[in-house]
Subunit: 248 residues, 2 copies
């Protein structure tokens, strides 16, 4: 039987979901997408995402693929899917992919962002998509720690305990702190060839402590070398995190 | 008995509320604020808002006043109130006001914004705070219509039918269309000495039709002169509207 591999670009507000990956206890992004695809193709289909975002984490550029049993012009798929999906999940792109394209294994890089609300009181329209962090914050110290995270390191220290991954070397091409002009927002950007489970939120946890003066920037290097486990985390709250882009 | 008049600055995500003004059928901003004040002052208090935003309309700079039966340092009030309020209502300012200050009658000007999401597919993080309007949109024509709305006019045509207001002359100091740099967003800004019931959303409805080429910019003037009722509205959806600021 001929199969047509389709690649999707997906954005979502993760607030109301138990994460990307399908599970029994909560609605999921994957679950909603598969429900919509089942209506369109009149049979159950399985999709594979580029990465499994956690409960409450957002995406502006998640990617996924699935094998369609028959051809539907891909230019029509986003509108057809969006008409069936809840409003907080939006498919913005669909295109035919090579049979050996794999949303997860073909990904070269991913970009995550983590947004901080620096206003004295939470900004109501940013509340769902940022972590509120008022008070003193040393941006220079955070930038210094960001530079120490960049490059190829064993990020074992920055993965959630009990994670199953054995090979823990990753390369971060970019770790950057940017100020969003005209808004009381700061954003941390992480671009890397891969990320361990909860790695971004654990790095953010460390960087926020650096910003608050509770940790020296150099402690991040010690943590990477496995010498200071206490310099890792805590896991930053999910709502500030967003999967910005998957690069193939 | 001594009374202490307090002026509040309030922001809210209006999505889950039946509007500012207290009512029986839905949670309201006023209702939540009065509940929180009752806890702090241990007695029921009434607040007066600068304006009654409708169900689903947001505010970044709503204002209100109330009379406190005893003094609490106003610098402590925002944190105390925010601890009691739902997360989508934030008090960002509290300060003592003169006994004759009145949130509604002392207001000199108000600024409203209306945000349009111009991306091909809705932007998930803007969805709650904008109206999605893809497709051709003639910004020049809208700007021409904006200029025609500026100034002192009888805005009778731009009020919801059945409104009780008799005096319908208002002055709009600024009606402007701005592009939000780097984002696929457009924003209409309205600054005026007062607004009739649903006036902003009816003007937005007309301006969107101008942008879509369904109405000539000059039709706005005809509507103001009462000659073309068909050139008014429809009422634009509430979620794009935000009370930005009340000027005293």
């Amino acid at each position: 039987m001929n199969m047509f591999r389709i690649r999707l670009g997906i954005s979502y507000d993760g607030t109301g979901y138990g994460g990307f990956q399908i599970q029994d206890n909560a609605p999921t992004i994957q679950g909603e997408l598969e429900k919509a695809l089942a209506v369109i193709y009149k049979q159950p289909l399985r999709i594979t995402g580029a990465g499994r975002t956690d409960a409450g984490v957002h995406a502006l550029g998640q990617a996924a693929h699935y094998d369609a049993p028959f051809e539907i012009p891909s230019s029509r798929l986003p509108a057809a899917l969006n008409a069936l999906l809840p409003e907080d999940i939006v498919v913005f792109k669909a295109e035919p992919a090579a049979p050996d394209f794999h949303a997860r294994f073909s990904a070269l890089r991913k970009i995550y962002s983590y947004t901080l609300d620096r206003a004295a009181y939470p900004q109501v329209m940013r509340r769902r998509y940022s972590c509120h962090l008022p008070g003193p914050f040393n941006q220079d110290a955070v930038r210094e720690a960001c530079r120490l995270l960049e490059g190829t390191h064993d990020f074992r220290a920055f993965q959630a305990t009990g994670s199953p991954v054995q090979y823990t070397e990753r390369t971060l091409y970019r770790v950057e702190l940017v100020e969003l002009a005209g808004e009381k927002l700061l954003r941390l950007i992480f671009e890397g060839d891969g990320f361990l489970y909860k790695m971004v939120r654990l790095m953010v946890g460390s960087l926020l402590r650096v910003g608050q003066g509770k940790l020296e920037p150099a402690a991040v290097s010690s943590a990477l070398e496995g010498r200071r486990p206490g310099a890792v985390g805590p896991t930053a709250p999910p709502q500030g995190l967003c999967l910005e882009k998957v690069i193939y």
